[in-house]
């Protein structure tokens, strides 16, 4: 503190632009300089206003940052006294990875290249996240498209979504001017399209999430209903004398929609009127009238939890369910045998033509079945050898395609066609097995538990994205959260009561959210970035515009089917 009064030498060297130099004592700070000289990294949870050009940080975080900077200057590295202890430094935000109909789980976030996962683990994680309940609708989709067309469509959609996924992964690396280490795909969209990009990617992501949650509700009601019926029949030793069309052997397959002609209905089975006990059960345990409401009592409380990290521990159930489904399908196929006949254009009594013009229904379902574009960047970031990212992504997609093909082909081919028509394949292929079938009972129980653990996670992600952007706080108050949960649950209940066609819900929400994330944004961003680098050629432009048109067509045509 010496020489306060004597030395009037200016200590601060002026870094000025000499043309506009206002004097030797001033330092000019250009506001854009400030942004690029920003010396610290703040976790996203502390960024409170993302709409402003300059991101604002919460005052508390900013003060703590200054404090830590200053304390670091006071002590030597060996001295531990002024190093921030763990409980004062804010914890990194929880990072969840999810595919709308697949799994959702918490991920440790690493910076680039510091991931610890081997290729095998990365491939498995991608496969696991994508695999989900859309598997139940693949046989129906194949039926809608025709057997041959179905197989070709699955392979082609796999390739198309793989290419778009590759574009998503590469999109971040093409931004050279900024540090994109922590960016996920919505951040890339915001970079190119401003706040429109951010809001639209948020909207489409919510469409996929809420569509998935509605599907989950319908399926959970279905499985709960069948499980309850199985247990009731088991306890009371009732033989299910359905008046529904079914095969007469040890592995019964039923055709629930045969009587009603087309539109599958969740109306209950008709029972012997003399059994009043059963009738009582029937009124209280109805697939579309009562069971969806019982679920409300179970799941609405779970949705209100602040942090669902408890549920992410049950992630293994998803894998087990899928593996069990594969086993189940193989087992049934072995016992039922193959029933295939190839009629190319004309439907017969029991078979569907090989080429049908309702194949867009399958593409709609597949858009959501192959969807992982919202979190593929984060998943690949954890890969130990980053140079293998593309290879691992391709392998994962091939495995997913093979799994879908396997299930679709086997269920379709083994469906007993002489007594039943192939048209009977339900949108949820487990519906084709009666509720008394033990193996499918086990499958339903697995899936029911798995869905009950993923549902709160999806609700949390929807809440974080919606409330986080509207209110800036992911838990503004219990009332906001409760109202949001009631809306989501209400939508699920309404759909379960009046339109429980999961194939329909999946294809509409898949085509809608896929439009943005799978088709339009990756291609458009690639075109723009090439144009900025003057590397845009006519073939590339035409090809990517073609992809965009395909995406639009995919969505529009869903409404005409």
């Amino acid at each position: 503190m010496a020489n306060m009064d004597s030395d009037s030498r200016h200590l601060l060297t002026p870094e000025v632009d000499h043309e506009i130099s206002p004097g030797p004592m001033n330092i000019q700070f250009d506001s854009s300089d400030l942004r690029s000289k920003r010396p610290f990294y703040i976790e996203p949870t502390n960024i409170v206003s993302v709409n402003h050009v300059i991101q604002r940080v919460s005052d508390h975080a900013s003060a703590m940052n200054k404090r830590i900077h200053y304390y670091n200057r006071l002590s030597t590295p060996a001295d531990k006294a002024l190093i921030a202890p763990d409980h004062v430094v804010p914890a990194p935000g929880e990072c969840y990875v999810y595919s709308p109909l697949g799994s959702a789980y918490k991920l440790q976030s690493y910076t680039e290249g510091n991931g610890k996962n081997t290729s095998l683990v990365t491939i498995f994680m991608i496969w696991n996240t994508m695999m989900g309940t859309s598997i139940l609708s693949i046989p129906w989709g194949m039926k809608q498209a025709g057997f041959t067309t179905g197989m070709c469509v699955i392979i082609l959609m796999g390739l198309l979504t793989l290419y778009c996924c590759y574009r998503v992964v590469k999109s971040r690396t093409m931004i050279s001017s900024l540090d994109t280490a922590t960016w996920e795909y919505p951040d890339v969209c915001r970079h190119y399209f401003g706040s429109f990009g951010q809001w639209s990617s948020l909207l489409f992501s919510l469409v996929s999430l809420i569509g998935a949650m509605i599907v989950y509700w319908v399926l959970m009601s279905n499985f709960l209903f069948n499980t309850g019926k199985f247990i009731f029949n088991f306890i009371h030793h009732i033989n299910d004398t359905d008046t529904v069309l079914s095969t007469n052997n040890s592995n019964p397959v039923i055709c629930p929609s045969a009587g009603s002609g087309g539109h599958p209905d969740n109306s209950s089975m008709i029972f012997n009127a003399n059994e009043t006990g059963i009738q009582q059960f029937e009124t209280w345990w109805d697939k579309s009238k009562t069971v969806p409401f019982y679920l409300v009592g179970l799941l609405l409380p779970l949705l209100n939890f602040k942090s669902p990290s408890f549920f992410s521990k049950f992630n293994i159930l998803g894998t087990v369910s899928v593996l069990y489904l594969i086993f189940l399908v193989t087992f049934k196929a072995v016992h039922l045998g193959f029933h295939l006949e190839f009629h190319w254009f004309i439907p017969t009594e029991f078979f569907v033509p090989e080429i049908r013009f309702q194949f867009p229904q399958l593409t709609g379902v597949l858009t959501l079945a192959f969807f992982i574009h919202n979190c593929i960047i984060t998943l690949l970031k954890n890969n130990k050898n980053q140079e293998n990212n593309v290879r691992d992504l391709c392998i994962a997609y091939i495995l997913v395609t093979l799994t879908y093909l396997y299930i679709g082909v086997l269920v379709f081919a083994s469906f007993p066609s002489p007594p039943l028509s192939k048209d009977c394949i339900e949108q949820n292929f487990l519906d084709n097995f009666p509720s008394s079938d033990t193996l499918s009972f086990i499958a339903r129980i697995f899936l029911l538990f798995q869905m009950m653990t993923v549902y709160p996670l999806l609700g949390y992600l929807a809440r974080v994205q919606l409330l986080g952007h509207i209110f800036g706080d992911i838990y503004p108050s219990i009332f906001h959260v409760l109202i949001l949960n009631l809306i989501i649950v209400g939508a699920g209940v309404i759909m379960a009561c009046f339109y429980p066609n999961i194939g329909g819900i999946i294809r509409y929400s898949g085509a809608a959210c896929g439009l943005a994330f799978v088709f339009i944004y990756p291609s458009l961003i690639y075109i723009i970035s090439l144009h900025q680098e003057d590397r845009l050629t006519w073939p590339k432009l035409i090809f990517h515009v073609f992809i965009i048109i395909l995406g639009l067509a995919n969505l529009i045509v869903q409404f005409f089917m």
Binding site: R67, R73, L74, H87
Partner: protein
Amino acid sequence: MKKKVLLMGKSGSGKTSMRSIIFANYIARDTRRLGATIDVEHSHVRFLGNLVLNLWDCGGQDTFMENYFTSQRDNIFRNVEVLIYVFDVESRELEKDMHYYQSCLEAILQNSPDAKIFCLVHKMDLVQEDQRDLIFKEREEDLRRLSRPLECACFRTSIWDETLYKAWSSIVYQLIPNVQQLEMNLRNFAQIIEADEVLLFERATFLVISHYQCREQRDVHRFEKISNIIKQFKLSCSKLAASFQSMEVRNSNFAAFIDIFTSNTYVMVVMSDPSIPSAATLINIRNARKHFEKLERVDGPKHSLLMR
């Protein structure tokens, strides 16, 4: 005779860290010492004029300290202007702590009965957030009771939030005798030059003595942040054997001036009208400087801390 600020407390209660942070000194040695400080640490820091900061460890090795205490007691406790006693909130030996505290108070009563007493309940970050108010209230009541007939002001502090800075700012505020007059003059000054905000800092520690703002500011942590930034800058300057004198920060939204004011204070003026040329504001500050120095000189040497 130079007046003292005694910073006392049990060994390991955080005094040295606190001293480093407030006064921007490098920590001279490892604070996790194996034994208690045998000697008192003198800091020749000009704090609020001519105050010298003395740092004391209290209650390390019992018998040794007792002896030292009794033999050197008068020496230590004479001419004390301020006693700041630091309590570690996590301490398991509350009885002993209070015992040493009372010994200090007795010594103060005998040697410097006019001294101001401040108690800091430190390391509050280690207490769970919902319990902090409760625990602090308990301690405050105990300390007030034990301190009678002397009056003590209690603060709860932690180096990991803004409470430390606020506590020391309050302490400094209470040590300035004519602070209300200072504030009124500051307000007049700010209104005349049409400034958004004017802050008066103590020179050594950049603790805010008083401030005037013409409208609500968003960031409540801004005083501590500015203080930390400038202290960090001063550390950088000292590495070049230079000393910090003044600073102007300007962008399209505002212009801020930090400059020496009186012999013991710094001033920071924030103007939100960037069209006013710097020269005008600097002239205003220079003229105000003369006025404020006169203010300090007006009070007699007995009452004023700022002029010794």
